[in-house]
Structure formats: C-alpha cells, structure tokens
C-alpha cells in the first residue's frame, strides 16, 4: 500500500487532479441548474396562483398608481425610428411618459422625428441634471396633443449608458423603465411590471425585469407583435431556447431566493430615486445593466435596508436576436467584457460577510460559474487535446461520460421547453415545439462552440487591454404586416 503511494508519479497527480477538478466543477454546476428547475417551478406556480388576486383590471382605472417613464436611447436608427417610437407610444398605462434620447445620431433620425411627431425645441440651459452626462442640445416636445407624453432629448454622443442617464435626468416619475428603441413591448407590460412595487410591503423593490422573447421572422404590425413565429435560422432559434432557459428557469429561480444580480438592459424597471442615488448607469461599462443591478444591491446593503430584485415569468418584451454567427460573437464578446468589468469593480463583494448572501453566495456564483464557466470549458478542451495526444484517455469511458453530459444538457433544455409550453401560449403548434427541441439538441455542436469563442474573445481583449466598444448589432428587421 505504502509502496503504491510512493509509486504515483507527478504526471498521475496532475492527470487525476485535472480530471477531478472538471468533474466536481461540472457536478456543482449541474446541481445548481437542476436545483434551479425546482425553484423556478415553485416560483412560476406561486406567481400563477397569486396573479388571480393581483388582477391588473382591479386597478386599471386607479388614479394613484405610480407614474412610469420609459427611457429608450437611439443611435443612427433613422430607418426604423418612427415605427419604433409609434410602437413604444402605444403602450397602455395611464401615467406614462416616454423619453427618447437621440444619442448624437449622425443620420436623419432627429429630422424624421421632428417631422413625424411635430416636435418643437425647448430651452435646455437650466434643467436639473442629477447625473452628469454629455451635453444636451435641445429637449423636444410635440405640438400635437396626441403625443403629449413624448419627449425627445437631443444630446451629444456618449454611449447607451450615458443616453439612459440623460433620459433619467429628465424623468419626473416614481419608476423608470430602461429599454432599447427597437424593442416591442407588450401593451399591458407596464401595469404588470408595476404590480410588484405595489404589492410588496416589507422589502423595497429596487429592480424588476421580465421575460424577453425572440421576434426574428415574426409578423409585426404598427409596432405590435401580430404573429409570433419561430426564427427560420438555427442561430436565433437556439436563442429562443436560450431565452427560455435563462429567463424562465435561471432568473425565476434566482428571483425565488432574492439572488438576482442582473435585470436585462433590454427591459428593466427601477425606482428613479434609487437609480439617481447611485449615480445612474456607469458610462465606462459595456455591461451597464449588470453593473447597475450589482451597485443598487450594494447600495441597499450599505444602507441596511431590506430590498428585493424581482423577475416576472411572462414575456413582456420582444427583441431581435443576433441573426448570424458574426453578430452573435460580437454580442457575447461584449457581454463577457461587461461581466469582467463588473467583477473587477465589485471584487470587494467576493466572500464579504458584510454583504450577507450577496457577498457569500450570489456574487461568488457569478465569479465562479458565470465568469468561470467559459474559462473552465476552454481549459477542458485544451486538457482533452493534451491527454489525447499523450494517450491518457480511456475512450469508451470518455465517450460515455460525454454522452451523459450531453444528455443532462438535453434534459435541462427539454425541462425548460416543457415548463414554457405548460405556462404560456406562445409556441403552441407541435411543429414549433419539435423545432425548438431539435435546436436545443443541436446547440452543443453548432452553437455553443461559437458562443464560447465569443466569450473567450471578450476575455482576451480584457486580458491584453485591447480597446473595444459596443460593436455593431446588425438587425434584419421584422416582417411588417401590410394589411
């Protein structure tokens, strides 16, 4: 026995250490995912039951529901800007203002808006701006009574976060929703989003998000989603499953234990007071939504006030997902840089008892698994290659292990699709569900490697301090119904 121990070589130690590291990392991650299914299921069932008693119709005529401002930045969106603004103006909510921030567009966006909505400029010299932003040139209001709730802010270019900050500076409401100008928002989305703010009594809601759906190849009329279709291409179709997994399972599960660290920048609601207190979005970040949410949570922990970040399972916002591999790579590159920056800025939270569960569980999860997973995966591929070259791999065993991991992935995606089909009426045709399942089963081979490449590209840029901005998000546009 003792002899055997002495006979173990360093090579063996490295080989088994690496193997066990990957094994336990994967095991913990899978356990978290499957615990997530249980938590999400509980959260969805509870939300469904509660919604019977929180019927928006009960308060839709009320005059003392909180006012909401929707802020949408726009940069060079002249092609679709008028349609997008009309779509966002059609949202049903009694106390609703819409601020569109023209972030120094170089195209004819502003001219088109002025013409279509009969805008006239106002003096922007002395308006209180609690959050510093790039300078504002003019504030436009419409002469047409139909558009009294529309404000267009024309400012010099400062990026998305800066534009959102400018919009929030001019907002005069209790709550503010940040979105993108090209998002399609459900007509009753605001009243549903406001519900948690009104309902909660012990904890302050500092951020609220909802499901975001993929609208590629769907039919849109007058800015309203008329017919939801599955995307024709694999890349956006896999993102449908990805959204279902992320929003319905991931965020609902984390929301259930008040562990949400991210409310998507495409559709997030915040109390204006708190956002101004923390100084708005960080303009230096590319992942400004994640960073703001972490900062808001840290702020509340510092103030020692009870708070909550909530997520609604319903899909209330529809957006176009990256239609090609190249755009997808750019997006994931940006997201991973955003994650890197957020983790660097808030590294003091890691295992910091002062921040309670956020410091001990939620933030470490983001560091170890959200940030760490692409790295571990990348290292795994290298290890596999090295061990294969050295002839250290027992192939029949390895194939079985990989099949098992693939099966777990399929189970997870299938469970997500099942929960979605059970809870919502969006994809009701058998063909759609089969396509979704097939896309999710092909994901590990045709989608995930590209995703990993995008993430690693982002990390590489951060590691070697290669400057990179937002990148270009090429949109294909929706199918516009003519009739």
């Amino acid at each position: 026995m003792q002899n055997d121990l002495f006979n173990i070589s360093w090579g063996d130690i490295v080989f088994w250490s690496v193997n066990y590291f990957f094994f336990f990392y994967g095991l913990v991650l899978m356990s978290i995912y499957f615990t997530g299914i249980i938590l999400a299921n509980r959260a969805i069932r509870r939300t469904k039951k509660r919604s019977v008693f929180l019927n928006v119709k009960d308060i839709v005529g009320a005059t003392d529901i909180p006012s909401v401002t929707l802020v949408a930045p726009a940069y060079n969106e002249g092609l679709t800007i008028v349609e997008n603004v009309k779509s966002l103006l059609s949202i049903q909510y009694p106390y609703y203002d819409f601020i569109l921030v023209n972030d120094g567009s170089k195209d004819d966006s502003l001219e088109k808006l002025i013409k279509e909505f009969e805008l006239e400029p106002g003096d922007a010299t002395f308006i209180t701006q609690p959050i510093p932003t790039a300078s504002v040139n003019y504030i436009y209001k419409s002469r047409n009574k139909k558009y009294t709730h529309l404000t267009v802010i024309d400012k010099n270019n400062g990026g998305k976060a800066d534009a959102l900050n400018a919009g929030m500076n001019f907002a005069n409401s209790e709550l503010v929703i940040c979105t993108d100008a090209d998002c399609i928002i459900e007509q009753d989305a605001l009243i549903k989003m406001v519900r948690p703010y009104l309902e909660e009594d012990d904890k302050e809601i500092i951020a609220c998000g909802a499901g975001i759906g993929v609208v590629n190849d769907s039919v849109v009329k007058n800015g309203v989603l008329k017919e939801l279709r599955l995307p024709n291409n694999l890349v956006p179709m896999v993102q449908v499953v990805e959204c279902i997994r992320a929003f319905l399972l991931g965020r609902m599960a984390w929301g259930e234990i008040n562990g949400l660290m991210l409310v998507s920048g495409a559709f997030g609601m915040y109390p204006l007071k708190r956002v101004i207190e923390v100084g708005g979005f960080d303009v230096k970040m590319v992942g400004e939504d994640l960073e703001l949410c972490v900062r808001l949570r840290t702020h509340m922990e510092d103030l020692q006030l009870p708070y909550k970040v909530v997520y609604l399972p319903e899909t209330l916002c529809w957006t176009e997902a990256p239609p090609t591999y190249q755009v997808l790579i750019n997006q994931r590159d940006r997201w991973s840089r955003g994650l890197w920056e957020t983790i660097s800025i808030h590294k003091h939270l890691l295992f910091n008892r002062k921040y309670g569960k956020m410091g001990l569980i939620y933030f470490p999860y983001w560091v170890i698994f959200e940030f760490g997973a692409p790295l571990v995966e990348f290292l795994g591929i290298i290890a596999l290659f090295v061990f294969a070259v050295l002839g250290l791999i027992n192939w029949p065993y390895a194939i079985l292990i990989y099949s098992f991991i693939y099966l777990l992935g399929c189970l997870f995606s299938t469970a997500a699709v099942f929960m979605y089909v059970k809870s919502f009426n969006h994809y009701t045709k058998p063909r759609q569900v089969i396509e979704l399942l097939l896309a999710s089963y092909l994901e590990p081979f045709l989608y995930h490697p590209v995703l990993l490449y995008g993430q690693m590209k982002g990390y590489y840029k951060k590691l070697f301090k290669i400057k990179s901005g937002w990148g270009v998000m090429t949109r294909k546009g929706f199918k516009i119904s003519e009739d």
């Binding site: 039951k49 509660r50 019977v52 008693f53 929180l54 009960d58 308060i59 005529g61 009320a62 005059t63 003392d64 529901i65 003096d123 010299t125 002395f126 308006i127 209180t128 701006q129 609690p130 005069n172 519900r195 703010y197 009104l198 309902e199 909660e200 009594d201 012990d202 007071k273 101004i276 029949p396 065993y397 079985l400 292990i401 099949s403 098992f404 099966l407 777990l408 399929c410 189970l411 299938t414 469970a415 699709v417 099942f418 089909v421 059970k422 009701t428 058998p430 569900v433 399942l437």
Partner: protein, 348 residues
C-alpha cells in the same frame, strides 16, 4: 465509476427525457381539448345569458332548461374545473352589465349552479381556495356570507385577509372603514388602491363623517389610505388632513401626502405649504413640493432666491431652473456671477 453503472445512468437519463417528451405532448393535447371545452362553456353561457335577458316572447327559456343545458356541457359538482370557469365567466359578465339587466342577471345566478360553491371554498383549509371563495362571494354580491368573512380580515395568509378586507368594503361601503385602524397587519399600496377603487366604484357618494372617525389612527397605512380616499373623491374640505402630513416623520406618509396634494389646486394655502417645505428632510420630496408650489402660485421671487442660496445643489439648480424659465434669467446670471467672484475666479 464502472462502465455498467454509467450505462445504467444513461438509460435512466434517457427514460426521463422520454417522460418529458410525453409530458410535453400530453400538455399540448390536453390544452387543445381543454380550450375547446372552455369555448363551448363560454358560448353556451353567453347564449343562456342573452336568452334570459332578452327572451324570445313566443318561446321563453325556462330555468329547468338552463340547468339541464349547464349539466350537459359539464357543469357538475364532480367537475370543479368547469364550475370554476363558469364562476369566472359569471363574474366577468356581471361586471360588464349594468342597470335592470344587472338585477335580472343576479336572479339568474341565484338559480343556476354553482350556488354554494364559493362558500364551500371559504370553509376549506387551503389559502388559495379560501381567497378564491371570498373573491367570488363579493364579486357576485352574496351578502349573506358577510358574517363568515368578517373574522378573516386579519387572517395569517396575505391573500385571504386582502380578499376579506375587500369583501368588507364591497358589502359595508364607508362603514367598513372603521375596521381599518384595527387591522393587525400592514395594508400594501396595491391593497390600498384596490380598496379605494372598490369604494369609489360602488359608493360614489362620499361619507366624510365615516372617514373622519378614523383620522385619529396613527397607523401608517391608515393615514395613506385616508389620503388616497380624500384624493380620489376630491374632498377639498379635508385638505388640512393632507397638509398636516407633509412633514410627517415617515417617508411613505410624506410621499403619499405630496402625491395626494398634487391633485388639488390649493392656492389659498400656498404660504402654509412653503413653511412645510423647510421641514421636509428629503431633497427629492422637497423638489416635488417646489414643483407643486411653482405650478399653483404666482412666482415668488424672494422664496426662489432664498432657495437659490441654500447649500443643497439640487434645490439650488431647481430654483435656478424655475427662475430662468420664468423670465428671471438676469437674477440667475447675477447670482452665479456673484458666486464666481466670491470664489476668486475673476478677482483682481
């Protein structure tokens, strides 16, 4: 781990996957069939209601026929889901029909199933059924069960007690407000709004005396609720109650007071409001009050110049903005130039 064990785990995984596929298929088929069934119930019920409210004089529909028809489409005690759907339809229909037809509809509801289904739910143990039962009772105006609902106003479950409180408002109207100060648990903003809306929907005539009886309550939610009622009914005579809470020590109460004040144009008490301004400890609320003062009074140069000289930058900028946009640009310029000279920028 042995290869045989791995293969076994794989087989179990595959089995679970197949089970999930079966569940998805079952869910889809069930939903399709259920939707068809619900459509049938809805159409039949719509026909019954229209035949009952606007009967064919030569061939009027009898209650026995209606009951038979209902049973035929699956409205039986053994099929609670169908019954539940019918109740939801009944509530929805009742909400949208007014006047004489509303009374006739109530007669019809008294004769067709599922009478007593709601009170049976209230008597069950689970919170969901209990709360659903209470909701159905007040929505369908079944006053006879009020005594059973009253004790539930302080129930340990949030939704049960909320529905019970709404039931009290529906059945007792302004009189129900007397319960408010004695509620043991907080009343959320949602619930406050719902109470105000129900009261306003069903009892349009304000009974100020009932409201005044609870003015003495020091519960935060009671104060907020009173102010919301004053606002909703536009009770200008009660404006002093709102004013007296502008400088309340609780943030939420002040917030409600400022919010409710915004619904009134109190030009005569502007000086009083200006005095409250300095007693508000939170800048964001001070800003809201400045907006109110600006919108409801003539420009008071001294007041805004004083604000311009305060130490808080937000208030200072707010005052500057108001003065600048009200034709006092030179005052603002003069003030800021003075600031620069004080800091020595232009000195010597």
């Amino acid at each position: 781990m042995d290869i045989a064990v791995l293969i076994l785990i794989l087989k179990v995984g595959l089995l679970i996957l197949i089970l999930l596929w079966i569940s998805i298929s079952f869910t889809m088929v069930y939903r399709r069939r259920r939707s068809r069934k619900l459509r049938l119930i809805e159409n039949t019920f719509a026909e019954v209601v229209s035949n009952y409210l606007y009967p064919d004089k030569e061939n009027p529909v009898s209650l026995v026929e209606i009951q038979r028809l209902m049973r035929k489409i699956g409205i039986r005690e053994s099929r609670m889901k169908n019954v539940q759907y019918l109740i939801a339809l009944m509530i929805r229909t009742q909400r949208s029909i007014l006047g004489k037809n509303h009374d006739r509809l109530k007669q019809l509801y008294g004769q067709i199933p599922p009478f007593r289904a709601s009170i049976s739910k209230v008597r069950t143990y689970g919170w969901y059924n209990k709360a659903c039962g209470i909701r159905e009772i007040y929505e369908m105006n079944q006053t006879q069960y009020l005594q059973e609902i009253i004790p539930l106003r302080n129930h340990k479950n949030l939704y049960v007690r909320r529905e019970a409180q709404i039931a009290l408002v529906v059945f007792l109207g302004w009189e129900s407000l007397r319960f408010i100060p004695y509620l043991k648990k907080k009343v959320t903003r949602w619930q406050q709004i719902k109470i105000v809306e129900k009261l306003y929907d069903l009892y349009r005539e304000p009974q100020v005396e009932s409201l005044r009886k609870i003015y003495g309550s020091d519960r935060v939610f009671a104060k907020q609720l009173i102010m919301r009622i004053i606002r909703k009914y536009g009770l200008e005579s009660e404006i002093d109650y709102i004013l007296s809470h502008l400088d309340h020590s609780n943030y939420e109460v002040r917030e409600a007071a400022i919010y409710c004040l915004n619904s009134f144009k109190v030009t005569t008490k502007i000086e009083e409001i200006k005095n409250f301004f300095h007693r508000i400890p939170v800048v964001s609320q001070q800003r809201q009050l400045i907006d109110y003062i600006f919108e409801n009074s003539q420009i008071d140069l001294d007041f805004y110049m004083d604000l311009l000289r305060t130490s808080n930058d937000e208030i200072k900028l707010k005052a500057a903005e108001i003065l600048w946009n009200s034709g006092y640009k030179e005052k603002v310029q003069e003030f800021y130039l003075q600031q620069y000279s004080n800091t020595g920028v232009y000195a010597e």
